[in-house]
Symmetry: C2
DNA sequence: CTTCATTTGTAAACCGATTTATTTCTGTTT
DNA sequence: AAACAGAAATAAATCGGTTTACAAATGAAG
């Protein structure tokens, strides 16, 4: 029986050509040993002649487990998730899986839909970087469904799923300590998307560290939901009435907002206000000034997450582990020690007047 | 006959529950009208009770065309392809397709493998952003296979595939004109990955424009294959012996190399050397100085490409079209007019000595 | 009350693979 | 040469759907 799928040979074509049954072809291709060498030859020849390749989806259908791993991330436009996904792709391929990548676009409703889609696709497992946290719509649905999954990035420990994330708390506390030691007595924490677990962790860890250490510091917090411009506006309003000695941006694009607003207002950084950013980017070495930042261990997050997922796919695990990957810290120019710094205002003026 | 796939109801379960045949269930679900309302009710009820959802892969298997569109891009770590992919995802979903995203990691061999994988997956069509050009390994294989595809970004017109790309030539010529008009008589073109068609177009268009206009300008070209650090080194060596009046970086990360090398050497931009970048990024407004750049119409590229692909999937087209999407231009601070600018060196010194 | 034309419903084939249960082919051993 | 064990090959069932071809039910016309 020869089918009608234009241009593409099926296993039956090969069987015909080789004068054997489809079952034999399947065996040869999967390397089952119980085939006479002469027949192996014939099959291989037919495969070559017909340019035959297994249809992995048809194959998976019968095997009842698909060699596809779902990846759901909030967005693809920042370096963080791009890098993460890229690394996951490499790992997945090495393990014989393909990736089904989808972005929730920072929407929990969409996240839920995507979880369902992954379920429909019968993926072997899913790596979810939730919009919100391990209690969000997506993760909740996964739990109900009983999906094999690992949660990354905007999560904390959880008793259903393995979680892998940067050690936000530690990194944030470290920044708090540094700022306190550098004599900063008034710091603004700047964030977006209050809903993200990572952000909340960064905020609370900062506060707790200050409290614990007994340092004398006023900590302001500025958050804005929705588009980045809202945050820009809020930050601008804030600066109209307050001048902290340092700003700690809790996410990458926030750092950009800070820098560009400083520029617009001709605020000198770090002389007037210091800046530290959570989440490093390549461009931070080229800004004015170069930004001191926390760098997240993206590679490690990807690797640990994938490792756990594979483990769970292959052997059902009894309890969930929570892995915190340590961040590192790049010291550049944007953060000064108020106690030791001797500021020479004359040399620090920028030449351009702020545009507009 | 009730199957064994744990936890998941199949169409047969639903048929049983509703007391009809699987064929009827299929019809109801696909909205075929020839089903008695009473049966529609029963099926819908059973679907809800069993939480049934069609397995799209099994469904596609029989339909012989899969509702999956392949996307092959060189990398996911830069804004450009992240944005492009994101947009494509939205478009694909609106049209009832899922995306299979894969990165060639700037390797043509990998690109070829991915084309083959997409073919194995029997995708309805593929959008390829080639590592090299419309004549690279991937596109060649696609042609041989007879795959429905659209080529984007690093391509020019082609008689087999539709191509969609930024109008590199025009944008580059425009930069050439601007530089000439601003009195720059010695310009360095800085690029990576000589193999990319876009880059080659940008270079040749620049040269041709200068030649055509008869402007008097020395044009140097610096390229480096492989890692970015090679380019950094090459650029550093170049600066040891030459000082152009302007650098035109032909790609985004090149602009970063230029800026950081300037910083290291305490070269004043734009007073000592001007900079223009191809491919804008959000961070370019926060660098020192803010970078004047060409911005690529990513959204439009995604939309035109998807539109053409859909057209080809639905009705085989006879001949290929080539769409050039116009770029725009953001004027910021890094490019000066040598004829009018009055430079005041005293105010332009940066305060920090270059590190190291 | 037939007869014929429509609707509506379903059994069975099919998509392209894998897996099972069974048959056929070997090669020994009596 | 018959009997039997082990190896190799295959027919058929299966995965979860869709589609086809035909049968059954319904309705209208004669």
């Amino acid at each position: 029986m020869v089918s009608n799928n234009v241009g593409r040979a099926s296993i039956h074509h090969v069987a015909n050509r080789a004068g054997v049954s489809a079952a034999t072809v399947s065996k040869v291709l999967r390397g089952v040993k119980t085939v006479k060498p002469a027949n192996v030859e014939k099959v291989l020849a037919a495969v070559k002649e017909l340019d035959y390749r297994i249809d992995p989806l048809a194959s998976d259908l019968r095997r009842a487990k698909r060699r596809i791993i779902g990846v759901i991330i909030p967005e693809l436009e920042s370096e963080f998730f791009g890098r993460l996904t890229s690394r996951l792709e490499t790992l997945a391929e090495a393990a014989g899986y393909s990736l089904a990548i989808a972005t929730s676009q920072e929407s929990e409703e969409r996240e839920l839909k995507l979880v369902e889609r992954m379920h429909d696709w019968r993926v072997a497992g899913t790596i979810l970087a939730p919009v919100r946290s391990e209690r969000g719509l997506g993760a909740t649905a996964m739990k109900k469904i009983g999906m094999t999954a690992v949660l990354v990035d905007r999560v904390v420990a959880n008793d259903t799923f393995d979680t892998v994330t940067a050690d936000n708390a530690n990194a944030s506390a470290q920044i708090a300590r540094k700022l306190a030691e550098a004599g900063h007595k008034h710091v603004l924490l700047l964030g977006l998307n209050e809903v993200s677990k990572s952000l909340r962790t960064r905020i609370s860890a900062f506060r707790e560290e200050i409290e614990k250490s007994g340092a004398e510091m006023k900590v302001d917090l500025l958050l804005a939901e929705g588009p980045l411009d809202d945050l820009r506006q809020a930050f601008s309003n804030y600066l109209d009435e307050t001048r902290p000695t340092a700003v700690f941006s809790l996410f990458q694009r926030g750092t950009l907002v800070v820098l560009s607003e400083f520029r617009r207002r001709a605020i000198q950084c770090p002389q007037d206000i210091s800046v530290v950013g959570f989440d490093d980017a390549e461009w931070m070495q080229a800004t004015y000034p170069a930004v001191t930042a926390v760098v997240q261990p993206i590679r490690q997050i990807a690797e640990r997450a994938f490792e756990r997922l594979l483990l769970r796919i292959e052997t059902p695990q009894s309890f969930a582990v929570c892995q915190l990957q340590p961040c590192t810290f790049v010291e550049r120019e944007s953060l000064v020690d108020l106690k030791t710094a001797v500021l020479r205002p004359e040399q620090n003026r920028r030449r351009h007047n702020p545009p507009g």
